[in-house]
Symmetry: C2
Subunit: 385 residues, 2 copies
C-alpha cells in the first residue's frame, strides 16, 4: 500500500475516455488538441466505496441528542435513527429524492470522488428500495461520475416486521432480491450485520441468496460490537467488510488471508463521538487490504470529502500518506469489484483525474477542512466546477 | 450559551461599517442602496480566537511520524516539531512570510472567520518574533478581516537557550516584551504552559511582566498533562485558558468562578491522533464560558474551517448546536477581550456577516468537510469569493 509512484514535471495524454500515455513532460507526444496546464498535483480520481447517498433530511436532532449522551435506543424511541430516514424516503416522490441526491453527489464529486458506491437501505420495503435504486440509476446517466449501486434492503428491520424478523429476511430474499436482479438495479448486495440489527445467521442467509442472484456481496461488519462479521465476509467471498471498529483478532487473520477488502470509515467514528477507531495498522501489518470511504449518510457521517477522510486516515488511523492514497484509489476499486482500469494514472485506464491545489502531494491528507480539489475530469471530460 | 435567537424572513440594514437595524423583512426600512438577497442562513462573522497563522512549510513528516507512533521527543530529535517551524520562520524574508500568511488567512476568511487572532511564536528571538508580528500588522491593513495579534515569544525554549532557560525567560521579559510594546505590535501575550515547555512559575513570571507592559494575557494550559495552567490563568485574570484537554477538577472550578474563557481546540486532538478531548460539557455545566477555535498551525492543526471545528464541537465535545454558535461568536470575542460589538447581528454591531448555504441553521455544524460558507462581509463590505 506504500507503493505510490510520484512523477514530477509529468504529462498525461488522454484519448477519448481513456488515458493514452503518461510520462515526462519533455517526452510527451506533441499535437494534442486541448492542452491543460495543471498547477498542483494530479491524482487518479478518488473512489468512494461506501456511501448511503440517497436520503431525505439531515438528522440534526440525532446529532445533538447523541452529543448530550442519549443512546441509540432512546434516539430511535424519540423518532430518530435509521427509521427516521426510512419514513422520510418512503414519503418522498422519486423526483424529490433525485433532486436532493443529485446535489449531494455533485458535492462529493467536487471533493474528488469520480466513482461512488451508493446504497439503498432507507426504503425497507420493495417499492421504496426500488425507488432509491432507480434514483441511483438515473443519476448515473446524468452525473459525470461512475455510480455503483448496492442493494441494502437489510439495513434494519422495518417497524412493521419487528415481531417477525424471519418474515422480513424472507421478504428480502424471495421478493426484493429477485426484483432488484430482474431490473439489474444493483451490482452488489450489502447487509448490516451487527448485534441488534441482523445476526450472522440472517446475514449469511441473505447474502447467500444474493450470490445466487448474481450479486457481489459486501457486509457492514463489527462496527460497534465484534460478532464475527469479518469472518462471515471472508467465508462468503465478499468484496469488502466495512466499518470493523470492533473486529476481533480472528477477524483480522481471516481478512489478511483473503481478498476481501477492509473498508474503514474513520469520519463516522468521529461524528458519532466515539473515542476509538478500527485497528487499521494491525490490519495492514497482518496483510489485509485497507480502503477508506466517507460512509456519507444523514445520521452518522454527513461527510462529503474524501480528502478529509484521508487526513483522518493518517491522523486517526495511523496510516502513511501513501497508504491513504492507495486506500481511496486501487483498494477502493477492489472493494467494489471494479477492473484494474481505474484508481491509477496509467495508459489504458479510465481518464478519471483530479487536480489538487497543493505543492506536495501529501498535503491532500493534511489541510483539515479545506477543499483542496481544484478540478475534476471524468472519462476524459472536465466536470463543471 | 444556548441563548441563540433565530429569525426567519429577516432583514439586516447596514450603514457604513455597522449594523443599523435587524428585524422582520416585512418591517424593514425601505430605500437601501444595495439590496442583497441571501439564500441560506446569515450568521454573525465567526471569530477564530486561537491561531498560529504565520508559518513557513507544512510539517508533513511530523504528521506521518506521529501516525506511525513516533513520540514528540523523537520527532523533535529528527528535526521536526515547533523548532522546525522556528528554523523555517527565522530563515524566511518578511515578504515571503507575508505572502504565505496572506493566502492562508484568506482561506480562513473564506471559511467564515471575520476576526482572527494570530500569534507569533515561531521566531523565539527578538528579530524573528518582530518579523512575525509585523507581517500580522501589515496583513491586518490589507485583508478584509480584523486580525488580533498575540505575542507568543514563550512558545518553546529555543535551542540556543536549552541549558539556560532562565536566561530565555529573562530575554522574553526584559527585551522582547518591551520591544513589542514599544511598537504596539501585539494586543495580547500568551505562554505555552506545559510540563517540558514552560513551568507554571515561568509562565507566571512572563505574564506578570506582560501585564505590566499593558498586554492582556492568555495561556496555553493543561493541553497534554494537567499542571495547574487553568488555575494560573484565573489567578492572572487571563482572557482565556486554551486547550485544557487535561484540565483538573480544581481548574474547572477556577474557570467557572472567573471571567477567563475556556478556549477548546477539538481539531488539534483529532489531528494529533488523540483519543480524548477537553471536558467541554463539564466546563459548561460548571458555569465556565467555552469558546472554540481552529488552532490553525503547521504541526498539530492545519485546520482552516471553523464550521468543521463546530461540527467537532457537537460530535466530539458534546455541545449543543446553539452552544457551538456562541462558542465561535460572542464567547470567542470575550476570549480576545473585544467589545460586545461583534459576534452578534444587532444594531450598533460591526457589520461582519457570513452567509451559510443551508436550510436549517444547525447544518453549519453538520456537513463534515463541506465549505458551507457562501459569502462573507466584513465592516459592511463584501469580501472577494
Amino acid at each position: 500500500m506504500t507503493d505510490v509512484e510520484v512523477l514530477s514535471d509529468a504529462a498525461v495524454l488522454i484519448d477519448g475516455d481513456r488515458i493514452a500515455w503518461v510520462g515526462s513532460r519533455a517526452e510527451a507526444p506533441r499535437g494534442g488538441a486541448n492542452v491543460v496546464e495543471i498547477d498542483g498535483v494530479l491524482f487518479p480520481g478518488f473512489i468512494d466505496c461506501h456511501t448511503h447517498g440517497v436520503f431525505g433530511a439531515p438528522r440534526l436532532d440525532d446529532q445533538e441528542r447523541r452529543a448530550l449522551g442519549v443512546d441509540y435506543k432512546a434516539i430511535a424511541a424519540a423518532g430518530g435513527g435509521i427509521l427516521q430516514s426510512v419514513r422520510d424516503v418512503r414519503g418522498m416522490s422519486e423526483a424529490q429524492l433525485e433532486a436532493l441526491t443529485r446535489s449531494r453527489l455533485e458535492t462529493l464529486i467536487a471533493h474528488g470522488a469520480t466513482t461512488i458506491e451508493v446504497k439503498s437501505g432507507y426504503g425497507l420495503e420493495l417499492d421504496a428500495e426500488l425507488k432509491q435504486l432507480r434514483v441511483i440509476r438515473r443519476l448515473s446517466e446524468q452525473l459525470p461520475a461512475t455510480l455503483i449501486p448496492t442493494f441494502l434492503g437489510a439495513h434494519e428491520v422495518p417497524p412493521e416486521y419487528r415481531n417477525n424478523r424471519a418474515d422480513y429476511v424472507q421478504l428480502v430474499c424471495e421478493e426484493m432480491l429477485p426484483a432488484v436482479a430482474r431490473e439489474s438495479l444493483a451490482r452488489c448486495c450489502d447487509v448490516f450485520c451487527e448485534p441488534g440489527v441482523f445476526t450472522v445467521a440472517e446475514s449469511r442467509q441473505i447474502l447467500t441468496a444474493a450470490r445466487r442472484h448474481g450479486f457481489a456481496v459486501k457486509l457492514h461488519a463489527d462496527e460497534l460490537e465484534g460478532s464475527g462479521g469479518a469472518e462471515l465476509a471472508v467465508e462468503l467471498g465478499a468484496l469488502s467488510a466495512d466499518h470493523l471498529a470492533a473486529i476481533s483478532d480472528s477477524g483480522i487473520r481471516a481478512l489478511a488471508a483473503s481478498t476481501t477488502v477492509a473498508v474503514l470509515l474513520p469520519a463516522t467514528m468521529i461524528f458519532l463521538g466515539k473515542r476509538s477507531q478500527a485497528p487499521a495498522r494491525r490490519l495492514i501489518d497482518a496483510g489485509a487490504a485497507v480502503a477508506l470511504a466517507t460512509d456519507f449518510n444523514p445520521g452518522t457521517s454527513p461527510t462529503v470529502s474524501l480528502p478529509l477522510v484521508m487526513t483522518l486516515g493518517v491522523s486517526q488511523l495511523g496510516l502513511r500518506h501513501a497508504e491513504v492514497v492507495t486506500a481511496v484509489t486501487i483498494n477502493a476499486a477492489a472493494a467494489l469489484g471494479l477492473a484494474a482500469d481505474r484508481g491509477q494514472i496509467a495508459a489504458g485506464c479510465v481518464a478519471d483525474l483530479i487536480a489538487v491545489a497543493v505543492d506536495d502531494w501529501r498535503e491532500v491528507a493534511y489541510w483539515m477542512g479545506k477543499d483542496v480539489v481544484s478540478a475534476v475530469w471524468t472519462a476524459g471530460s472536465a466536470c463543471p466546477a
